[in-house]
């Protein structure tokens, strides 16, 4: 068991355990903060997958952006009178159904993952992906890139418009 394998299991555990906390926690703030670790774990997995740029993007956008937004959302939409902020579980039947369906899906997906013969290609050389991503983004995916920038602009303007006080 080398360091890489160890790191993989560490990050996998981090992701899944805190993912579980996110989902099962009764306190919404705990859930939100657990998300931090989940994201961090995923970023770690990216690093192990030699996607350094993606990993940092993950940290920057998910933790620095989306998570902050979510926490702001929680704070602005919940009456925080104490530290135990309920995350609003549904009725027992619904949870049961959700559990069954999720478990079934998990079993199915894992079964599929394990039994399918995936097209494998030789493992790519380790190295910086930034240049490659930049070149591809501005050549092959230039249209999608511009569309995404427009989308973000519109989302910003729209969000600001929707959220402002009447």
């Amino acid at each position: 068991m080398d360091l890489i394998t160890l790191a993989f299991y560490f990050f996998a555990a981090l992701t899944l355990v805190f993912g579980g906390v996110v989902v099962f926690s009764k306190n919404i703030m705990h859930a939100a903060f657990s998300l931090l670790f989940t994201f961090f774990g995923v970023a770690g997995l990216y690093v192990l997958l030699q996607a350094d740029f993606l990993a940092i993007t993950q940290i920057m956008i998910y933790i620095g952006g989306i998570l902050v937004l979510i926490i702001f959302g929680v704070m602005l939409t919940t009456r925080i009178t104490g530290v135990d902020v309920k995350s609003g579980a549904s009725g027992r039947i619904q949870i049961t159904v959700a559990g069954i369906v999720s478990a079934a899906l998990a079993v199915l997906l894992i079964y599929v993952s394990l039994t399918t013969v995936w097209p494998q290609s030789p493992v790519a050389e380790a190295g910086s992906t930034v240049t490659a991503i930049g070149n591809t983004m501005l050549t092959k995916y230039i249209l999608a890139f511009e569309a995404a920038s427009m989308l973000l602009l519109i989302a910003i303007v729209g969000a600001a418009f929707i959220a402002r006080k009447k």
Binding site: A51, I61, T77, S87, V101, A106, L109, W118, A148, L151
Partner: protein, 102 residues
């Protein structure tokens, strides 16, 4: 056992089902949103895993980046909408938001 594609796929599957469970079992909209983020992350793990092992190479990264962009836009707009819903109903429980106007 060498860490390979299936490892990541399994992790992704588990993360996906966790997210799904979060979406289905919670009333609080923000909890649903968090579940959604988990699902998107699971998808991204798949993309990157296939980029490395499945020959998707840089295209997988690009796809993941677009997923992240969409997630950011979605979170911004969704939270803005939630703020509005909260101003109207004083809560953000999904199944109690049931009228289109006051």
């Amino acid at each position: 056992m060498e860490i390979g594609l299936t490892h990541y796929l399994v992790i992704s599957a588990l993360l996906f089902t966790l997210g799904l469970f979060g979406i289905v079992s919670r009333k609080h909209s923000i909890m649903v949103l968090m579940g959604l983020e988990l699902i998107l992350n699971a998808a991204n793990i798949n993309f990157i895993a296939f980029a490395k092992f499945g020959g998707m190479n840089i295209d997988g990264h690009i796809a993941a980046i677009f997923v992240i962009i969409l997630a950011a836009a979605e979170a911004a707009v969704a939270l803005a909408i939630l703020l509005n819903i909260y101003q109207h109903f004083r809560h953000v429980n999904m199944d109690e938001v049931d009228s289109l106007k006051e």
